[in-house]
């Protein structure tokens, strides 16, 4: 058992448990906190795959940004309604059947596909290569992403602004 093997199984258990908690807990606020745990666990998986830059991005944007936005949205709507939002679920059995069928389909495909089990030698510094790719072959996409973020920001401001 190498450190990577132990780390993978620990992170996998944490990720699956917190994911289940996100979709099952009745308290919406707790669900967001479990989502933060799941997002951090995903970041650790990026770390296990030797992508420390993605780990930092995941922590900053997802666990930092997304969770903060969702918490703010919940607090705003709770303040407006003046009571705690209970989160109920419906069609639990049907949802479980569909989700299990999708998983079975993916797993069945995975078992047949010829997949690599040994990873190649890591690049000298993946972060440097990612940075070069972002300003090299993917420069236009990178710029478009900036336009998208500005547009999304303006759109969010427009939708959420006051009545005046």
């Amino acid at each position: 058992m190498t450190l990577e093997t132990v780390g993978f199984w620990v992170v996998a258990v944490v990720l699956l448990a917190s994911s289940l908690a996100v979709v099952l807990t009745p308290n919406l606020f707790h669900a967001v906190l479990y989502l933060a745990a799941a997002l951090v666990a995903t970041g650790v998986i990026f770390l296990l795959l030797e992508q420390p830059f993605l780990f930092a991005v995941q922590l900053l944007l997802y666990a930092g940004g997304v969770v903060t936005i969702v918490v703010f949205a919940i607090m705003l709507t709770e303040r407006l309604i003046g009571e705690r939002i209970r989160q109920t679920s419906r069609h639990l059995v049907n949802g479980a059947i569909v989700a299990a069928a999708v998983f079975t389909g993916i797993a069945g495909f995975l078992l047949q596909a010829p997949l690599a089990t040994v990873r190649p030698q890591p690049a000298a510094d993946a972060t440097v290569a990612v940075g070069r790719a972002l300003v090299g072959p993917f420069a236009v996409t990178f710029e478009l992403l900036g336009v998208l973020l500005v547009t999304a920001l303006l759109g969010a401001l427009y939708f959420a602004r006051g009545e005046e």
Binding site: I45, L48, L61, S89, R119, A126
Partner: protein
């Protein structure tokens, strides 16, 4: 060593859990959280394939999907707040203004 199939199966499990959440939650914010889980599973897949194929494009693509997801969450929650102002509810079943 943990092989590529382990990462892919883990991602498939997270994706299915997220799909379950999207299908069963009544609250619009809860549905958004399920979508987050599904997108996360996709990111795990992209990074795992990138690592095991020795190809960097998957990592770059993950950066793009993460940024786009953040934009999606911001707009989605803004819409939720706007709907909440008008209808005083965020339950997806009761948001039927467009039903014919």
């Amino acid at each position: 060593m943990i092989g590529l199939p382990s990462y892919l199966v883990l991602a498939a499990l997270v994706f299915s859990i997220g799909l379950f959440g999207v299908l069963t939650r009544r609250n619009a914010v809860g549905i958004l959280l399920g979508i987050e889980l599904m997108l996360n599973a996709v990111n795990i897949n992209l990074v795992a394939f990138a690592r095991f194929n020795g190809d960097l494009i998957g990592v770059v693509f993950t950066l793009f999907t993460i940024s786009i997801t953040v934009a999606e969450v911001a707009v989605g929650l803004a819409i939720v707040i706007a709907i909440f102002r008008v209808r005083r509810t965020v339950e997806a079943d009761r948001l039927d203004l467009l039903r014919g």
